[in-house]
Structures are given as structure tokens and as C-alpha cells.
């Protein structure tokens, strides 16, 4: 689909909350736990509709995760709904030990992730979560790009046998996939038509898939072919599709709402370098500096995470290669 066709959806957080309301109707083992975060997590309607399936812990993220692990050990399907920044910093040890190491299939929902909180600043940004969790064994990591991926991820999470972290933003997202798209945790999705050769592979995750997709349209206007991937799963990481995209591309731009260290870009670079697939590459994300103040959009633009910015980066990379 191209940008003319893309219509606006709701925030992935809303898609998450709607899906969960639907699923919980027939599954009383589904629980939502929250830390004074039901509003931000859009689960107030859930709490009102299923008061027996909603557990409030108050402002205590460590306890939130610990209690949720205990609930899960008793057979509950627990969705922990709290800001990504607090879950993966304040409660990181609980995620590491109580959930991942102890292997309870808790569904950790990091809400308003990345720089979603915009002007609230670094205390509220989660730009380290993908790095930290990728370095902790036994927790799958899913970062949905749009409402479709979100709904599918939540449905999959309910029955997922392992701990899982799902990272969601709070801004309305364009609809990027048609509803018949195959979604599977661990399998990347290609948004652009399959070709023999691409000028650039735009490998993105989460809320940066949309600008990557729109960048591919700008590049197409200049006669350049892109392979846009939504790598919604950081773990399991889809080596096969990434390798294939890279092999068939002249250059690679990775895009993420995360520090340029330790997230998707690092993963792609590490994998390709070890696989012997050598291509000019740029990791676009939030650079290792004091993050600029602004809304999510302003921060994205500032760091070139926009259709324009990404197209520009791709062009520079290609020029550099051909010069």
C-alpha cells in the first residue's frame, strides 16, 4: 500500500486495550495489573468492565512485576501495564529474575515507550529497554508498528508460552498492513513488493516503521527501490528475512525509537557482520546524547526519524557508496 492508501488508525495502546477487552470476555484467567497507570495504559474501560480481572498495585513498579510473576505462576495470563520507562528501569531486576529467569509467561506491556512522553523528558523516555532486554535471556521482545501488529501481538501473547515484552506507543498510527497479512512472533514483515534488487533496505521497528515506509515512497519518486521491513520481534530475531533483505540490497538503514546503542541497529549490524553480509549501513535512532526536548514528533524530526530524514540518510548512503 502507498501513503495515499494508508488511513489513520488509533494509538497502538488503544488497539491493545480494545483487543484485550475482547479477549478477556471469554477468558477469565486474563488479568491486567497496573501501577496507577490504567489511564495511560487505556485500560480504564477494562478495569470497569472486568473489575475482577484488574489488579491495581499503586505506584510501585517493582512490586507490580513481582506480584504479576506470582499471579502467572498460579496459571493467570497476566498483562502488566505500566510505562516502559519504569518497567525496564525501576523494575528491571524483577523482569530479569522473577519473570525471565524464572520463566513465567508474564506479558510485560511497556506503555508510552521510547520518547512517547515527549516533553516529559528523559525520566520518562525508554531508550534503553531493547538493549537491556536483548541482553537478558528468555524474554521475547515485540515492538508492533501499527494497530494490526498490535492486535496480533496481543492475541499471540495470551497463549505465548514464554515471558514476553511488548512495547507500545500512544500516538495514533497509520494502518500499514492489510488485515490478511501473516503475523507471527519472530517473523519480520516486508511492507514493500518483493524484488530481485533494492537500492536500500529500510529495516525498522515499532513506531518508526511508518516513517520508513513513507521514506520508501519518497525514494521511489527518485527511482530508488526500497525493501521496508517491520522487524516487530527483536527476540526471536528473524535472521532469515533480515539476511535476505540485506543480501538483495545495496545499502541498509535501520530505524528505531531507541538509543543507537544496543537496539535493532546493533542487532542487525552484529548479525550481518557475523553472517558476512557486508553493506553500507546507517543506524538511525536516538543518538547517544542528552535528548532534545520536544514532542515525539519533534524529537523524531530532530533526529531524522521522518520520511524526509530517512530518505535523506538513504540517499547519502547510496551516494557515498557510488562516489
Amino acid at each position: 500500500m502507498d501513503s495515499n492508501e494508508t488511513s489513520m488508525g488509533v494509538a497502538n495502546l488503544d488497539a491493545f486495550a480494545d483487543t484485550l477487552i475482547e479477549l478477556a470476555a471469554n477468558d477469565h484467567d486474563i488479568l491486567v495489573t497496573a501501577s496507577d497507570s490504567r489511564g495511560s495504559g487505556r485500560v480504564t474501560p477494562f478495569a470497569e468492565k472486568y473489575p475482577d480481572q484488574f489488579i491495581e498495585i499503586g505506584i510501585a513498579e517493582q512490586n507490580l512485576v513481582g506480584v504479576s510473576a506470582g499471579l502467572a505462576s498460579m496459571g493467570k495470563k497476566v498483562f502488566v501495564v505500566s510505562p516502559a520507562c519504569f518497567l525496564t528501569a525501576r523494575a528491571l531486576e524483577q523482569i530479569k529474575n522473577d519473570v525471565a529467569y524464572s520463566d513465567h509467561p508474564v506479558k510485560v506491556i511497556g506503555i508510552s515507550a521510547g520518547v512517547s512522553y515527549g516533553v516529559l523528558g528523559t525520566t520518562h523516555h525508554s531508550l534503553h529497554d531493547l538493549a537491556a532486554l536483548q541482553a537478558i535471556n528468555n524474554i521475547d521482545i515485540v515492538v508492533p508498528a501499527d494497530n494490526f501488529e498490535t492486535g496480533q501481538a496481543i492475541r499471540a501473547a495470551v497463549v505465548h508460552p514464554r515471558p514476553i515484552y511488548i512495547r507500545l506507543g500512544k500516538k495514533a498510527m497509520p494502518i500499514l498492513h492489510d488485515p490478511t497479512t501473516h503475523f507471527e512472533i519472530g517473523k519480520a514483515i516486508q511492507l514493500t513488493p518483493v524484488r530481485e534488487e533494492y537500492d536500500v533496505a529500510l529495516i525498522a521497528t515499532g513506531e518508526t516503521v511508518a516513517p520508513a515506509f513513507f521514506a520508501s515512497q519518497l525514494l521511489a519518486e527518485q527511482g530508488l527501490a526500497s525493501c521496508v521491513l517491520s522487524v516487530h520481534s527483536l527476540r526471536p530475531f528473524d535472521e532469515q528475512v533480515v539476511e535476505q533483505a540485506a543480501t538483495h540490497s545495496k545499502s541498509i538503514v535501520t530505524v528505531e525509537e531507541h538509543s543507537v546503542n544496543g537496539g535493532l541497529g546493533s542487532r542487525v549490524a552484529s548479525f550481518l557482520m557475523q553472517a558476512g553480509v557486508f553493506r553500507p549501513l546507517r543506524i538511525v535512532g536516538i543518538p547517544d546524547e542528552h535528548t532534545v526536548t520536544g514532542s515525539q514528533d519533534e524529537i523524531f524530526n530532530h533526529y531524522g526519524i521522518s520520511a524526509q530524514g530517512l530518505a535523506q540518510t538513504a540517499l547519502q548512503l547510496l551516494k557515498k557508496e557510488t562516489v
Partner: protein
């Protein structure tokens, strides 16, 4: 600019003069009350302009900040680089608009600087940061301020300083275990130079604190953790002045003030309403709010026959 016009149009008590050691006269209280009204107007304007901010919690703690900065604490732009002055940590960092108003009034930065709050590239983000003159620590994640304040108080004791370290926490914030870790250490090290203040407005984002996660009896908890505990009406200027004049409450014990406040204090339709935690006033709401504050200013001056 609208905001600048507004904030430069201050009431007659606006000044950045330190009011410590003023005699506790009616005049003094009235001057402080007028400042509170100015701060309320300013913070509402900030939130209204930025279309974001924490309305309820800023309004509930602004009288506390007022009395601390204008009566109790020895902190000025002039002595800010010195160690042996008082120190303040805004643990409930989301209520930053109240702090911005007070710091501007104290002369830490020009009022105009506030026009950039929440804007792209501004240092004035939605929580306190050390990028702002007058702010000593980046807060915003709840439950961090007290430990930091304990560290400062400990350093002050080690260096034989005579200053005090103040911090204001939310009541919802008290559920964070880090508060209790810090409390234990404050008592262990007998930090009677530490003044921990709870903005006990009984509300947090999701509703009544006791419904969300009950923490009463708070006095028992704090006493058991080794504090000298005092209750006060946290929106009553005179009561606050009187209480803080008695610091330290007990030699060798950290001080804990349970400041009973009204969330959204000062604006009738905002008071004691959970959704106003971070609701932004509409144009009409903003105008009514200003009118209410204007009436209060008139009252203050009429009643006391100052005009």
C-alpha cells in the same frame, strides 16, 4: 506574547525578596498568601499555554513551596553555588509548574524564560532538571527525591553544616519502596537536618490513594520508620509558617510533615477531582480560574484594607 504579558502583570506582593526572618505578622501572612495566588495564576497559565502539565498536584503543593522558598529556606540565586544554604528537592517532579513559578519569582531566571516551557529545544521540560537555574536534581520518576535528599543531608552532617534539606513527595508516591529505604537510612543516620514533606492530597491519577493502594495509617508508618512526625494544613500559610519555625521537631530524628492539602486547591471546579491530575483547562475553564483567583486577590486586599 500572551504568557509574558500575563506573568509580568503581577500582584503587589510580587518580588524576589527573601521573607525569612520576617516577623510573623498578619502582613507577612498576607504577603505570602498573595504570592500563592500569583503562583497559582502563573502555573495555570503555563499549563494552559503548553497544553500540558500537572494541574492538580501543582495547585496542592504551591502553598508549601511558597512558604518554604519565601519564609523557611535560605536559598537565593545569590547563594545558590554555596553548600551551606538550604536545599530543596522536588520529589513529586510532575508538579514542576508550581516550582517554575516560584523559581521565576525568586529571580532564578527571567519570567520570560517560562514562555519556552515544553517547547522544542527548551530546557524547560515537563519535570525538574538541573538545566534550570535553581533546580538541584532531575526528578520526575517518583520515589527518587528522598534518597537524594538523604545523601545531601548526610553530606551536610559530615561537613558540619547547619543547613536543612527539604523535599516534597506526593502521597501516591509513598508506595514506592525506595521511600522506605531512604526513610530507614534517614533515621539510621539521625538526619534531623532533613525535612520530608508529604503533599497529602488523598488523590493520585487513578483516584483516592486509599482505594488505589492504602497506606494509612501514615503517621504510624513514618513513626515506626523513625521520623518525628507533624501534621499541618498544607494550604494554610500561617499554619505552615508556624510549623516550619519549629524545625527540627526533635533532635536526632528526621522531620516528616504530613501536609494535608486539597488537590487542585484554589480553583473551585478543580479541587479534589482526580481527573484534574493532568487535565489542561479549556479556554473557558482557564478564564473562570483566573477570575476566581482575581476575586481571591481582591478579597485579600479588601479584607485587610490594603488597597
Amino acid at each position: 506574547m500572551a504568557l509574558l504579558n500575563f506573568i509580568t502583570h503581577r500582584n503587589k506582593y510580587s518580588n524576589s525578596e527573601m521573607m525569612t526572618h520576617y516577623p510573623n505578622t498578619t502582613d507577612h501572612y498576607r504577603a505570602l498568601q498573595a504570592k500563592s495566588l500569583l503562583y497559582r495564576k502563573t502555573l495555570l497559565k503555563l499549563i494552559y499555554s503548553a497544553k500540558a502539565g500537572h494541574t492538580g498536584g501543582s495547585l496542592s503543593c504551591v502553598d508549601l513551596l511558597n512558604v518554604l522558598y519565601n519564609h523557611v529556606m535560605d536559598i537565593t540565586p545569590q547563594n545558590f553555588t554555596q553548600m551551606n544554604r538550604d536545599h530543596y528537592i522536588h520529589s513529586k517532579g510532575h508538579a514542576v509548574e508550581a516550582l517554575y513559578a516560584v523559581l521565576a519569582d525568586k529571580g532564578f531566571f527571567p519570567w520570560e524564560a517560562l514562555e519556552t516551557v515544553g517547547k522544542y529545544g527548551s530546557n524547560f521540560v515537563g519535570h525538574p532538571t538541573r538545566d534550570i537555574p535553581g533546580i538541584e536534581q532531575n526528578t520526575g520518576a517518583l520515589g527518587h527525591g528522598l534518597a537524594f535528599a538523604v545523601g545531601m543531608a548526610l553530606a551536610a552532617k559530615k561537613d558540619g553544616l547547619t543547613n536543612r534539606i527539604f523535599t516534597i513527595m506526593g502521597d501516591g508516591e509513598l508506595v514506592e519502596g525506595s521511600i522506605w529505604e531512604a526513610s530507614a537510612s534517614a533515621a539510621h543516620y539521625k538526619l534531623d537536618n532533613l525535612v520530608a514533606i508529604v503533599d497529602r492530597n488523598t488523590l493520585q491519577i487513578s483516584g483516592q490513594t486509599e482505594d488505589v493502594m492504602a497506606m494509612e495509617p501514615l503517621e504510624d508508618k513514618f513513626k515506626a520508620f523513625g521520623y518525628a512526625v507533624c501534621h499541618v494544613d498544607g494550604n494554610d500559610i500561617a499554619a505552615l509558617v508556624d510549623l516550619f519555625d519549629q524545625l527540627p521537631f526533635e533532635k536526632g530524628k528526621p522531620n516528616l510533615v504530613l501536609a494535608h492539602t486539597t488537590k487542585g486547591k484554589g480553583i473551585s471546579f478543580i479541587e479534589d477531582k482526580a481527573p484534574w491530575h493532568h487535565k489542561v483547562p479549556s479556554e473557558t475553564e482557564f478564564e473562570i480560574a483566573l477570575r476566581e483567583l482575581g476575586l481571591a486577590e481582591n478579597d485579600l486586599e479588601v479584607v485587610d484594607g490594603l488597597e
